[in-house]
């Protein structure tokens, strides 16, 4: 097992800086996020998460046909594409009362489509959005390609066998790229000068960088899987209240193509993604004690009956106070959105069915001068008044605590490999491992769903959508556990049109501001205590931020091409 584990656990160094650190904009996320922290003697003492962008989708939807909601809301984002369309579809299905009538084959197709989204999102996130916080690409240039091949081929982590030549080739191309001066994706990277917080040996840096580049090609595969069922990607088109409309996806040649793409994607998950996480994690074991949060919830996912959250393959649930011995059922009545620290009129927290979107920008000054007034375009969702984290870690913990067989096996495997207890899961390291575990759990189950699809088509069960009637008035809600966590759309229909529509988005749960009681959001809580070695290159803060896979939702900023934008701290 040469070279695959450190002799003694490296420790993230603590600097001696005291003062403010602002990272704006955060890169390698989706959207516009500003993070400000107060550092004291090298550790984060206080934190503010500010979403810098207002979209107004909820306002745009008023007065429209409820069936159009999915097309508008899906344009929230092209990264977590499809998920909003599914939430809107489920929301309106709930309002019109067709959920229990959706044909089984339609549900299987919907689950396969969402499953492909997870495969795409999590692979891209680990490699292209998160890895550079842990992997030093420049240091990879000092690696021995021979030693790197030894690690992949003999360390027993599950890697596919590599040749020395392929590591040599990547290293040579990397050398040329870095020397060429056009640093592209590595511009302003924190590792351009040596950074003490980066702990991987050169060979693991080379392995991870080699896979980062491979993953750029691999991510096309699940993206194409989605297009087979969704019609196109990004922004799938085939969902409809009552099921799905992609009849072409039932054709044997299209199912065969889906399957081929899927198998190649899972090869990558099994022989690259999982082994890489297992290779990197031991060098950052102390991150099992950084990035801690306390409460979690998930609405579960992959339904066999859309009218019942408990029919979902991944279970719903709420975990409070890090107590894995108690899992409560998710109760939609306990969801509230607060605006006391957000740029909206009206201070009182509201349930989404009574939600109001009335923007009123003040300024960031209140945050800058030390008082925490209003500082974000995000509202602050709270569950039963508590700040609850959502996402792969929340789902993993609930699944684990409920004894979900496939999840439990993988969690125990990872904990054993790292030599840590379940307490280490409540951390940035845990969050990162959970994302990987979730990818495999879902991917492995997709094998069953493909088999079901083939069997149903062979048996002539090719109904995929059920009819419904639009009511004059109704309330509805749709829950999706998206790759980033619990997503819900809430509708009030009046006169057959949208009277009110509210989106409560996973990144709002995780990255919103304080609520009216001043309780920190999950990311703000997670940042407390984080060591910061170099305030000009605060990679430690990014490690936790990125572990949430933020998706703040894009908008257009016009940049004058003739001026140079500069920021307080550039982020790679």
């Amino acid at each position: 097992m040469a070279g695959c584990k450190p002799k003694s656990a490296p420790v993230t160094p603590v600097g001696d800086y005291s003062g403010r650190v602002v990272i704006d904009p955060i890169n390698r996320i989706e959207g516009h996020l500003r993070i400000e922290v107060e550092v004291e003697n090298g550790r984060v003492k206080n934190a503010w998460s500010s979403s810098q962008l207002f979209r107004g989708l909820e306002i745009i939807l008023q007065g429209r046909d409820p069936r159009d909601a999915k097309h508008f809301t899906q344009r929230s984002c092209g990264v977590c594409t499809h998920t909003h369309a599914l939430a809107s579809t489920r929301c309106v299905e709930n309002a019109v009362g067709v959920q229990a009538q959706i044909p089984e084959t339609g549900l299987v197709l919907r689950n396969l489509l969402l499953g492909a989204q997870f495969l795409h999102d999590h692979i891209v996130h680990f490699y292209h959005l998160h890895a550079l916080d842990w992997v030093d690409v420049v240091n990879a240039l000092s690696a021995s390609p021979k030693k790197a091949a030894e690690i992949t081929n003999t360390a027993g982590l599950g890697h596919r066998k590599h040749t020395v030549a392929e590591f040599e080739a990547t290293q040579a191309r990397l050398k040329k790229f870095v020397a060429g001066g056009q640093l592209g994706i590595f511009t302003n990277a924190y590792f351009l000068e040596p950074h003490a917080a980066y702990k991987l040996p050169p060979e693991i840096n080379l392995i991870a960088t080699h896979h980062y580049l491979l993953a750029l090609k691999v991510q096309l595969l699940p993206s194409r899987m989605m297009a087979i069922i969704g019609g196109k990607n990004p922004h799938t088109q085939s969902l409809y209240e009552g099921g799905i409309t992609c009849y072409d996806a039932l054709k044997p040649e299209n199912i065969a193509q889906f399957k081929a793409l899927f198998l190649e994607t899972m090869d990558f998950v099994n022989q690259f993604y999982i082994p890489d996480v297992l290779a990197v994690a031991p060098y950052y074991l102390d991150w099992g004690g950084i990035g801690h949060t306390t409460h979690f919830h998930t609405c579960g996912e992959f339904a066999t009956d859309e009218s019942d959250l408990n029919s979902r393959f991944l279970p719903q649930g709420v975990i409070l106070n890090n107590d894995l011995s108690k899992v409560a059922d998710f109760d939609l009545k306990k969801v509230e959105e607060h605006v006391a620290h957000s740029w909206y009129k009206d201070d009182s927290p509201k349930h989404p069915w009574k939600g109001v979107t009335d923007p009123l920008y003040t300024s960031l000054d209140e945050m800058e001068t030390g008082k925490t007034g209003r500082y974000s375009w995000m509202k602050a969702p709270r569950y039963d008044g508590l700040s609850t984290e959502v996402g792969p870690l929340a789902q993993c913990l609930v699944s684990y605590a409920r004894g979900h067989k496939q999840t439990t096996a993988l969690v125990n495997l990872v904990l054993k490999h790292l030599g840590v207890g379940a307490g280490a899961l409540f951390s940035t390291l845990g969050r990162t491992a959970a994302r990987c575990i979730e990818t495999k759990v879902i991917g492995d189950e997709m094998v069953e769903w493909i088999a079901k699809l083939e069997a149903n088509v062979a048996a002539g069960k090719t109904d995929i959508v059920a009819p419904f009637k639009m009511p004059e008035s109704a309330f509805g809600v749709g829950f999706v556990n998206a790759p980033r966590g619990a997503l819900s759309h809430w509708i009030e229909i009046a006169g057959g049109k949208i009277k009110n529509f509210q989106l409560v988005v996973p990144s709002t749960w995780n990255l919103g501001p304080r609520c009216d009681k001043g309780i920190l959001s999950p990311v703000e809580e997670a940042l407390i205590g984080t060591p910061v070695f170099d305030p000009k290159r605060p990679v430690e803060i990014l490690r936790t931020i990125h572990s949430y896979d933020p998706c703040i939702a894009c908008g257009v900023h016009v940049i004058d091409p003739k001026t140079n934008e500069t920021y307080k701290f550039k982020v790679c």
Binding site: G184, L213, L216, L220, V556, V558, P561
Partner: protein, 168 residues
């Protein structure tokens, strides 16, 4: 089939059609598709503002002809042909945080695949691109489209491709 005929050529129109003249590259490709038939080794593509997503078609090509708006402080409608180092200079034009740098995409292609196709740009100086969104292209540019098409067809022939006009 000679080696030349096998050469894969990608004719790539770039730009944002919602930002008036910035979308000229896409519109020119649309005209080419309307007006001509091309052999199988030539792909015409609306690349939009798709940035890194274009890596796959780029890696598969041997030669790329890019059509795009280019800022060069000349009168609107001035047509350019850029290759080599000039490509680097022209590609830094960004008008939103979503504009992916095409040059970065080319560099990443080489990093990922070891392959970097040769590229030439047929560009045109835009007039209106910082106004409110609209699909209308300025007349000065519309008038130069036939000239751009002639230049693009010449590039295709020089790269070993061939085409026939479609019946009117």
């Amino acid at each position: 089939m000679t080696a030349e005929a096998e050469k894969k050529i990608l004719v790539l129109g770039l730009g944002n059609i919602l930002l008036r003249d910035e979308g000229i590259g896409v519109r020119v490709v649309e005209r080419l598709i309307e007006q001509y038939e091309f052999l199988d080794n030539i792909t015409l593509m609306d690349g939009g503002v798709r940035g890194m997503i274009l890596m796959d078609p780029i890696i598969q090509a041997d030669h790329i002809i890019v059509i795009d708006a280019v800022l060069n402080d000349q009168p609107p409608g001035t047509v350019y042909r850029l290759e080599g180092d000039d490509v680097k200079l022209s590609m830094a034009f960004k008008n939103s945080v979503h504009d992916m740098d095409f040059l970065e995409t080319l560099c990443c292609c080489e990093l990922v695949s070891g392959k970097r196709p040769s590229a030439v740009i047929i560009g045109i100086e835009p007039k209106e691109y910082q106004t409110d969104p609209s699909l209308d292209i300025s007349q000065e540019l519309l008038d130069r489209i036939p000239e751009m098409i002639v230049k693009i067809l010449q590039e295709i022939e020089a790269a070993g491709g061939s085409y026939t006009p479609k019946a009117a």
